[in-house]
Symmetry: C2
Subunit: 193 residues, 2 copies
Amino acid sequence: MTKGQDTRIAILSVALDLASQSSLESVTIGSLAKATKMSKSGLFAHFQSKENLQIAILEFAARQFTDQVVIPSLKKKAGIPRIRALVENWIQWGSKLKGGCIFVSAGTEFSERPGKVRDFLLFQQQSWIESLKKIGKSAIRANDFREDIDCDQFAFDLYSLLMGYHYYSILLRSNESRQHQEKALDRLLNAYK
Amino acid sequence: MTKGQDTRIAILSVALDLASQSSLESVTIGSLAKATKMSKSGLFAHFQSKENLQIAILEFAARQFTDQVVIPSLKKKAGIPRIRALVENWIQWGSKLKGGCIFVSAGTEFSERPGKVRDFLLFQQQSWIESLKKIGKSAIRANDFREDIDCDQFAFDLYSLLMGYHYYSILLRSNESRQHQEKALDRLLNAYK
């Protein structure tokens, strides 16, 4: 990597932390300049506008998401072991961000704000749901799931479980969120067996 | 109701719409003055500060939530009919707000911002989860659920289902969100029978 790429990654790491703690909207070239101790003009040269900066943060997060959540699960045995790994990776990815998964918080923040940011969020969440469907299909091929299951429904069920975990752990700070998530996952996997 | 109370309710209705479409943080005495065509000084007399205004919006929403979601379900037969009514009421309540249930969006917005607003959100969500537990217990008493079920787990499962529905309908705008929610609810109720 060039020095320029290193700098960009360092800036985006700080920006993602800020966005996760507060909101995507709160990360401006000004607030990022304060947090990184860089000049506004230097940051402006990197991102040009607030919207570009917001998209750059989400693209950076999406790459981390793919690298930390999706790809490692594909190295696990197809079927239930891969699904369990995906859930575990998602929880670990969210636990590294102060406000949990950035796509959950940015999703509510931008749901009613048409534009490039919402388009990107929609695209990322649709890709995530596609991954959930595919992992369901691979569980059928691995004979861990029945052949007649509805993988779209499975994706909804698993997605819901993770959203529930997000709110129980991030907002409610419930000590039982992990235990509830594990029981819900066991029940879900059993229902599709 | 006095004229003052009427005015306050009219202001808070507009404020709740604004908060749901955008964010709680975006509703300031200034932005609300524009939206209601009232003077800033008049609004300031009602709410004194942005934080008080945010809490007044959430209290207003919480009363609507109780009146529209919780109370009507208690008039239904205890057990599965009451649970189905609660879910239906929750969906209807969210569908009246542009960004869906305000407590979902405000929950991510304020999860890392300690203070009175987060305290109120936490209190409201804990009350909601208590309602979900109670409705599970009443389903045991009505013999619709097995006696040995874990009502805390049931609350987590039902809460998760609603969160999944929220994101599928509000962010992803999936045509299948309703169908998925219904199938997930059937499976959930069957699991506890």
